[in-house]
Symmetry: C3
């Protein structure tokens, strides 16, 4: 990369194989998705005891469900007897227990083995040792975050810190009381691109003028190419004649009760590594969770969250939803186009980041450090 050495303006990206190599993806699964806090399920989706969702985290199918005392539990979705997948549906509800449909081993909502055929004839069996594998769970912002590590990292130093670093303080997001909001719409996108393409795309706005006509209409400063994520504590200001964060700039819903004057008519965005992207506007929150399934495939679940009264009243949210739905589709098309060429010799040493993209370099460094490729990274820089 002689180019990057001859220029202050340009920084190198990750090399192309980071986006295609199954060995790199395997490292990301074992050392990122299976060790960091992973935003798995919206808490309200499993409101009643016995309701559950199954989600893919790294290489594991994870069963996230509501317990009898209202707590959320997460388990590896595998029977301890002969390894049958316990729940095969994406969501459902059980009464008091999870029963394996193969040999009827039965687990309480807390994961404990409570019954199995002929179990009374095996007095030496320690039921305590044969419960479902428990995983760490934290609730925040109305979502259940799961960690597959035996010794999870500090939630505050990772998840909360990512929000704080971007907003200039974690308390800033408190104003939106995200956990209290209701789901207006959810759209799931199946994208043929590596998860890092999608993260990088979210982080920069150098592409906004080219592919996001509606967004730059609402947020004129985005036409200059500097993303909200480029700054600390910066909210992009609505255009003068824009009334709301909608596809045509028409009025949105009422401002959320806690949103301060300095946050009004502004758009904030942040990435929570490794797989969450949150967007805050005065009247709603757009919350993305990414589920990396393969080196070249990522599922994205995007929630549009509003004040419960707005959702309950049946207000027409279509123009509000359409704005970011269009932005998503425009972005994911671009990501898929990049994915196609990651194997080219032209990208073997990577490409370049312009100044308004330089902060992506920190994300690249974070990935390399996590998967233990620091040395290679240093080699390249020298």
């Amino acid at each position: 990369m002689t180019t990057t050495e001859s220029s202050q303006s340009l920084m190198p990206t990750l090399a192309g194989h980071y986006y295609t190599d199954p060995a790199i993806f395997a490292l990301e699964q074992s050392r990122i998705f299976e060790t960091q806090w992973f935003c798995a399920v919206r808490s309200a989706d499993i409101a009643e005891p016995g309701t559950y969702r199954t989600v893919q985290i790294g290489r594991e199918s994870v069963l996230v469900s509501r317990g009898r005392r209202g707590e959320i539990n997460a388990f590896l979705n595998v029977c301890r007897h002969r390894g049958a997948r316990l729940c095969t549906e994406q969501q459902g509800q059980v009464k008091r227990s999870f029963q394996c449909p193969y040999h009827a081993w039965t687990y309480g909502l807390d994961g404990k083995l409570i019954a199995a055929p002929n179990l009374t004839d095996m007095p030496d069996v320690d039921r305590g040792e044969l419960g479902l594998h428990h995983l760490a769970v934290r609730e925040w912002l109305g979502y259940a975050w799961v960690c597959l590590a035996d010794d999870p990292p500090s939630f505050e130093d990772t998840v909360v810190a990512d929000v704080a670093e971007r907003l200039g303080g974690a308390e800033e997001i408190g104003a939106y009381d995200v956990a209290s909001l209701s789901l207006g719409t959810r759209i799931t996108y199946d994208v043929k691109a590596n998860w890092k393409q999608i993260i990088e795309n979210f982080m920069e706005c150098y592409h906004c003028a080219t592919i996001h006509p509606e967004l730059t209409e609402v947020l004129p400063e985005f036409a200059d190419g500097f993303a909200a994520q480029y700054y600390v504590g910066h909210g992009a200001e609505f255009g003068d004649d824009v009334q709301g964060f909608t596809v045509d700039g028409s009025e949105g819903a009422e401002r959320l009760p806690g949103v301060g004057e300095h946050q009004n008519r502004r758009y904030y965005a942040m990435t929570v590594k490794p797989q969450v992207f949150i967007n805050l506007v005065p009247d709603h929150v757009v919350f993305h969770r990414m589920f990396p399934l393969a080196p070249d495939r990522t599922l994205i679940e995007c929630d549009w969250l509003y004040h419960p009264d707005v959702v309950a009243s049946g207000t027409d949210l279509s123009r509000s939803v359409e704005l970011f739905d269009r932005v998503n589709r425009q972005d994911f098309d671009a990501c898929e186009r990049c994915q196609l060429a990651m194997d080219s010799r032209s990208y073997a040493a990577g490409g370049v980041l312009v100044p308004s993209e330089h902060h992506i370099g920190a994300f690249h460094e974070w990935v390399r450090t996590r998967i233990g490729e620091e040395t290679r990274s240093h080699d390249r820089a020298s």
Copy 2:
């Protein structure tokens, strides 16, 4: 697996990767399916000289056909000249020879090279060296068993011994004169599970109460979880009010002529390693052949065999067939559910076998010994 060490009741299973690792499957292909006797084709399916079937055995397409003197031959299904697949159909009939459709090299029904264009201009060519690759064949129970090994193991010490070990003597199966029976129905199942899942499922009945309501109705003792294969020489007895081995317990066909009084109203089952499962009831035989195609895919051909008079008379066999067809579907659903979770860290060291499943451990040991993984097995146990 500290669990298994602390309990007499529980034995360990194979580790999960045995069911998913392509390297393990490759070993199973080369060291099990391509070295043991493999039950390939029902003899009656190739009754006339020149009729043939092609079947997949391990990594090879095998051509099994009836010769001019009525003998059955098996060949690698490959032309010796430029390697074209000789027969691409699953079944067919030729007159006197197999002719390669590419360059017309022509082989007799005995596999000898008998003609090729311009062959007379190549006097130095030894036709004897250029015949089709012959494979060992044995007929037993009305099926052609093929062995791809250069030096096949003793048929008696493997195939026959497996039957004898289960029934307490090979002569017991003689009473059913399986070779004399006619095909009533054949159903082929395409199952997304490792072949060993299917073998293990056939071997135990701990799941019967949970997934086989019709079967446990007919064979009430199965509700206790002990399979016929758990014992030696044991036939599971029909329920008192059961008249036949049918989906609703209604009357079946007449008892087969040779079936003795001690075998009447009883169900016997046996596994012939590596890929056959035979079920004997007084009026018919259900004969499964498994064709492992991939670590997570197995084709199963299941034959319902009856006395020739029964088939010839057009007797309604639907209730008789429906019983085991339902059992098959129930079993294969369970196997597919297990296959899904074999990759989980929760099953990385395997699961557990309860007492009524302990005999599966011998099958696991047999697999490990065949593929040369004894050492690893001993390591795990210590």
Copy 3:
């Protein structure tokens, strides 16, 4: 291969894994398709400045387009900024430049970086270093031949030499003035076979009597099994009652103006390594380009070329096209049938070449030398 040692008539082929092993295919991509001259695009398909085609060469998507001064350029189809695929369509036309649809980096038709958002704010960026990656291009016979090597081999010593070696002089093909011809018909075939199967098939005629009834009717000598490619400078003669190179031997178009008397009523064929097959008959040319996509998949684009007046007049070419279209389909069926069995132990050491196929051995040696497997080849021969 004791067979081949005991016989002068039989020579060994490549071993079966040469046709299935992804590692061999990777070597062929990097050391053959990405280093040799590759016949990529028919020049007339990109007649106007700004018209382009995208083609797969080895592992690369290549953009071949007409420049402003009428020259043909070839580039790696990848933006230098973040690696987006520049053109995703198989063909198209731009006005003055290629603009990346992600961040609007813009390249001239000559590949130079001419604009990018905020580029003026990065005065230290050397645009000259950030142009599209240029590839070597040569036009010959009306086609653009592209070479991905930094230091391409001599076009004359490879492409032209292959033609000359077969015809006994490169000037022989001049008589057909191939570059002046017009496209009558193009048919694309998607073949489930390794590219070498297809080359080998084109090189020999031992199969002609078996699978090409129409062709041997028109060229009776082909029934003896000796291909035009077996000889130097030999054209296969039309049958006495054959009037033209058509599916039924009926009259074709008028003889091409430059075709000499010694070339009349004759069929010439040649392979230009690695991926072109050219057929010359008095009134037209059949030109095959192969695009190897996977060890077991090759795309073949076949052009039927006629005198411009013939195409312009709307003459019915169907019987002329049908002859080689049938030949193609017959050949590709045979290639697919061979591909099926390349993995068999029966072909692990390869098969045999009869005398009329011996010249294929030189192609095998060429492949082995290119991919650096000479040693293994010598080992096998000793």
